[in-house]
Symmetry: C2
Subunit: 458 residues, 2 copies
Amino acid sequence: MAQKPSIPKGTRDFSPAEMLRRNYIFDTIRKIFSLYGYLPIETPAMENLSTLLGKYGEEGDRLIFRILNSGNFLADVSPSALSAADTSAVTRHISEKGLRYDLTVPFARYVVQHRDEITFPFRRYQIQPVWRADKPQRGRYREFFQCDVDVIGSDSLLNEDELVRITDRIFGELGINIIIKINNRKILAGIAEIAGAGERLTDITVAIDKIEKIGREGVRQELAAKGIAPGVIARLEPIIDLSGSTEQKLAVLKKAMAESASGMQGIREMEELTGYLAVEPVKATVELDLSLARGLNYYTGTIIEVSAADLPFSSICGGGRYDDLTGIFGMPGVSGVGVSFGADRIYDVMMQLNLLPEQTGSSTEVLVINFGSAELPALMKVAGELREAGIATELYPDPAKLRKQFAYADSCMIPLVVIAGSNELAAGQATVKNMKTGEQTAVPFHELTSFIRRLKTS
Amino acid sequence: MAQKPSIPKGTRDFSPAEMLRRNYIFDTIRKIFSLYGYLPIETPAMENLSTLLGKYGEEGDRLIFRILNSGNFLADVSPSALSAADTSAVTRHISEKGLRYDLTVPFARYVVQHRDEITFPFRRYQIQPVWRADKPQRGRYREFFQCDVDVIGSDSLLNEDELVRITDRIFGELGINIIIKINNRKILAGIAEIAGAGERLTDITVAIDKIEKIGREGVRQELAAKGIAPGVIARLEPIIDLSGSTEQKLAVLKKAMAESASGMQGIREMEELTGYLAVEPVKATVELDLSLARGLNYYTGTIIEVSAADLPFSSICGGGRYDDLTGIFGMPGVSGVGVSFGADRIYDVMMQLNLLPEQTGSSTEVLVINFGSAELPALMKVAGELREAGIATELYPDPAKLRKQFAYADSCMIPLVVIAGSNELAAGQATVKNMKTGEQTAVPFHELTSFIRRLKTS
């Protein structure tokens, strides 16, 4: 006997029940993206390593799945590298392609490669799996799905407003209460600038980030422990003390940062975005959070992070503005902004919060019982008519015992069973059994379709 | 300057316009699969090589894309294999995973791995890309999409009937005229048996396959040239001479094959299937074709092949029954039947026959012109209301020149533009421009949504 087969660590099969729930999430996301005028693109699973390498830092390069060249790939490798078993020297020669690590770099590559066919501003979304050779653990997979939405070729902060609204709308439809935190890279740069400690930006933001946990005095101590000079800490006081609404925070920052051109620009951007968001209310809590400091090596303006309000540590979406994404591929000066929805995290959060629609094992609505060859032609016609009316219908393929056929409907959670044996056929009416309530109704064959349609909509 | 980026040979980017057309094909296929009660599953892009290897023949093994192990993968390779640059010995040690080559083997693996969670008969469909390191050429890609639909765990020929109907329905909806050829592996075995030349099955079917090109005498000559004995050719005469309807062919075969148990079983199966297909007519031409001999190394009963009637050499779908698909993974005796739709071939055929819906560059229905900060709040509300009504709407993000904004709508093929500058806002009505006809209509703001809805449905 062959041993029981398995799949690679960190990858998953999706059963029909999981697929139906996942598709509910993907369909909701896709629908809202389209409603705001974003268009789908797809890129290949494999990219040239020259496209991928050097874009994700050293750690990222290590986590890219590489594809072995076809044919006699060792022929071109230097004998010395081989005898030395020099993995990194050999790798360069035997692999030219890697699996997509995210959707951002392939998008940048796409925009540059197809720049002559694209009308800017280009609004695209992309929903595809990505692969990372990360250590698999709970909630972290080696194959997982990203849903990215970006607009490229427009500086307008209306785009940021729109992305916040898209996020608000998607999570509203999914029933997840969210907190949207926003920040601006230019404000962070301004803080470092007025503190006279530009190179200490990370230490400063990490310390400020802990204010809710350790209090203001704790933040001051942490800054001191990190070696930030007392004079700098003094200049940071208004920021450490920052509280209140986004408007109140911005008013304080404006005073504290009057000297920093970059900081003031960041504040103006935040004010403009806040103004747009005030035009029509969003459902989510949106707040300025100076401690939000993700993606500092590529975001140049607005930074956005979305977490589930009802669960701790549950970032489910994030993004920001990048002023030079396509520069790495030789097309500088094109500004873009986007957010990425983590489909697997969203799925996990919805399962935890019990937000997914009642679990079904099937999208089939009706099972027609198979009574054998005498009744079969009539039963095939019944099933055919139901399908003609758009009702998802199965005719059980074998004339198995009734008990077995009902057990199948039960196990697959098919809600209705149509029973039409010789008696029913002679009487001109089928029995429709509601598998949930057990209720049985005699329905003339010519009314079957409309009867079942009514049940669907009620 | 970086050089212009590119993607690996044989792979493709899909632009929004291509995605919209491709999704039309996928959505149609998915809709019909669901209507017949099939449920979606997905499997990982990567499978263990132990799952993939040895399933597709030697040539297939060579065409599997292998993934390099992570970390210092050369450490475990024997120094002698390395110094000899022995590619095949080294490969075994540095790669444990490969990319999915088709959807059939992962499906068999899935069924065996999840047998305890599955209710049989298991009706599943799967629409995912597969990867083959084939030489890229026109119409042949290294990443392409398969749409497989199978039922496993039922011997009933009703399943074959259903798959033929699904195929008929899908291509009917797509507008492709098709010819469905069916054959049965057992009839082919019977022919070889009565000819007393079981091991010559391929030579015999290949020769018979050419009857339309080279005529009956040509087939006889070809059989002789292949070394088939004159006595065998004489016994094959009724089959070489076979013509007429499926019923007529079956009648002749029945006489010719009375001695072969396998052949008679194949004929009974064909008769049963033909009987089912006669219960309700299908749109396509369905015909018995003895020369259809695909997949002889795994199909054990019915064989199905579908081609576009209006193009030569255009197989777009095929499948058959396999009695022991899961046997390779240690779960013998489970019969299944399925067909696979080649999405890329279908796309190419539809493009060639001009069958795809009018090409659009966008799914956006309305562009709202951006007049700048004074009008912006009102315009944001207009866009918001349209979206609330389910109308896909963009608000141009920058207050660019009108000409530029109209050029954008034109280039993206957005059908309607809403113009609401200060005059329109003061007058309480917007101008709606139909970009196709150029017609402009003044519409009060409170009627805008219903006006545009009416345009959509007319």
